[in-house]
């Protein structure tokens, strides 16, 4: 009896026997992953569960034993550190997407300011706004890229008093979508999926795709975590993520590919 109980407990505690893969995903990619989920589930027969947060937060959780199988980060640094910490499977890292940063004016962007590559810097220099939303630079790679962009344009220090920080890129998006900040640095992928805010359909507004030269590339890496070393579902998911079909959908959702 005792043995049987112990066995039952052991079965319950053994991860992934049921063909489930639990993916910790950076906020910017969670909408995209949800769109990919159906495909993956019908093709592989495994179940996919998402846990969303800022990359920094997910990293801290994994360091403390959070039961995730795969991390889809918004940067390359955290997956690499997990590998060094011995928490990720060596050699399982790869870049699944390159993030694209967009400066989004929800409404009332100045129309008299520059065009093309100069447009956004003209907005920032003119400064006809009260608040500019970014993701937290230490927690979220899109936040750091936003700071680097302002740094390259030489406006970071003068704008600092007007920056408001969301805990992750989804919160930064929400601050702009709800009209509390006039503009913000968000992920290109969010603008395709997000709701434009209360009572508006689609993201709308005016967007300035930030030229890639203004910040370090946002290399988004995936990594297999130690607990899922031999898990079939997790392996199948990583294979799927590299498939041509998944890649073309990722590109269509607003990412560049390595």
């Amino acid at each position: 009896m005792i043995l049987r109980t112990l066995f039952a407990v052991w079965v319950m505690l053994t991860p992934l026997t049921a063909g489930e893969v639990r993916v910790a995903v950076a906020s910017n990619f969670s909408g995209a992953l949800e769109q990919l989920r159906d495909d993956f589930e019908t093709r592989s027969g495994h179940r996919l569960t998402l846990v969303t947060g800022s990359t920094g937060k997910l990293y801290a959780q994994i360091r403390h034993g959070a039961p995730y199988d795969v991390l889809l980060a918004a940067d390359a640094a955290r997956p690499e550190r997990l590998e060094q910490d011995g928490l990720a499977v060596d050699g399982s890292r790869f870049t699944y997407a390159l993030g694209r940063l967009v400066l989004w004016y929800r409404s009332g962007a100045p129309t008299d300011s520059g065009t093309g590559d100069q447009q956004g810097s003209a907005w920032l220099e003119a400064g006809r706004f009260r608040k500019l939303a970014i993701a937290h630079p230490e927690l979220a790679p899109y936040g750091r890229a936003a700071e680097e962009t302002m740094q390259s344009l030489g406006v970071l220090e003068s704008l600092r008093p007007r920056l408001v920080r969301g805990e992750n890129i989804a919160q930064a998006y929400a601050l702009v979508a709800s009209g509390n900040a006039e503009l913000g640095f968000v992920a290109q992928a969010q603008l395709g999926q997000g709701d434009g805010g209360l009572g508006r359909s689609g993201a709308g507004g005016t967007r300035w795709p930030v030229p890639a030269a203004l910040h370090q590339p946002i290399r988004q890496d995936a990594v297999l975590l130690k607990r899922a070393t031999d898990a079939e579902a997790a392996a199948a998911f990583l294979v799927f993520l590299r498939s041509e079909e998944a890649r073309s959908r990722i590109a269509a959702l607003g990412y560049d590919l390595p």
Partner: protein, 225 residues
């Protein structure tokens, strides 16, 4: 051991003080009305007052974002008045804290007023005291315990506020980054020693506050009865 930036502590204490004073000012008439009225609206107002106790802070935070944004009536009125947005500002945090801590001020006061009974009030009226005079020289001294409990609980509850501020504060150092947010940020960025210092401080402070409330209540019981 690295020491954390202490600005969040100052900000948090200021926020809690302002909130507590305003809550006593606004909560007293509300609690008095709830304790004495025979209106049919009473249960409705009581329920609304207690809502922040049961609603998750995310609900409060989300609706505040919706109501206080510069395009909404309240938000735009504030922008016209002060030139600043209500969200991401100290004033906005005060508004959020008033809502969030309202039941902690109103309920002890209402209890104290109800415990008073009609006797002393009628006696004062018979002796010719005007209503406000009665309130000042009879009600307030007799309900002092209620006032102290209300003040201490609102103060402590505001100190512990987290979810609402996370949503409407914008995490601006020196302006809206309160203690709980600073702790959260230290944990998320793996700066555990700073998180430890602030967390332990908050733990001791909260314990001291609760201990003093309970000790005070006990003493008051012995003295009054």
């Amino acid at each position: 051991m690295s020491w954390p930036d202490l600005a969040p502590i100052r900000l948090t204490l200021l926020l809690a003080t302002v909130t507590t004073l305003l809550l006593l000012l606004l909560g007293t008439p509300l609690a008095w009305w709830l304790a004495t009225t025979r209106s049919r609206l009473r249960p409705v107002i009581e329920a609304i007052t207690a809502l922040p106790l049961v609603l998750p802070p995310t609900v409060l935070g989300f609706y505040l974002l919706v109501m206080l944004n510069p395009e909404a009536p309240i938000g735009s009125f504030w922008v016209r008045l002060t030139g600043n947005t209500l969200t991401f500002s100290f004033a906005g945090l005060v508004v959020a804290s008033l809502l969030y801590s309202l039941p902690f001020a109103v309920q002890p006061l209402q209890g104290a007023f109800e415990g008073l009974g009609r006797g002393p009030l009628e006696a004062a009226a018979t002796l010719g005291a005007a209503p406000f005079d009665t309130f000042r020289s009879v009600v307030i001294p007799a309900s002092l315990r209620g006032f102290v409990t209300a003040a201490v609980l609102s103060f402590a509850h505001t100190i512990g506020e987290f979810g609402v501020v996370l949503m409407v504060g914008g995490n601006i150092p020196g302006r809206t980054r309160v203690l709980s947010i600073a702790i959260y940020e230290h944990v998320e960025t793996l700066r555990y020693s700073e998180a430890h210092v602030l967390s332990a401080g908050l733990l001791l402070f909260s314990f001291a506050v609760l201990l003093s409330v309970y000790a005070l209540n006990r003493r008051a019981r012995f003295h009054v009865r």
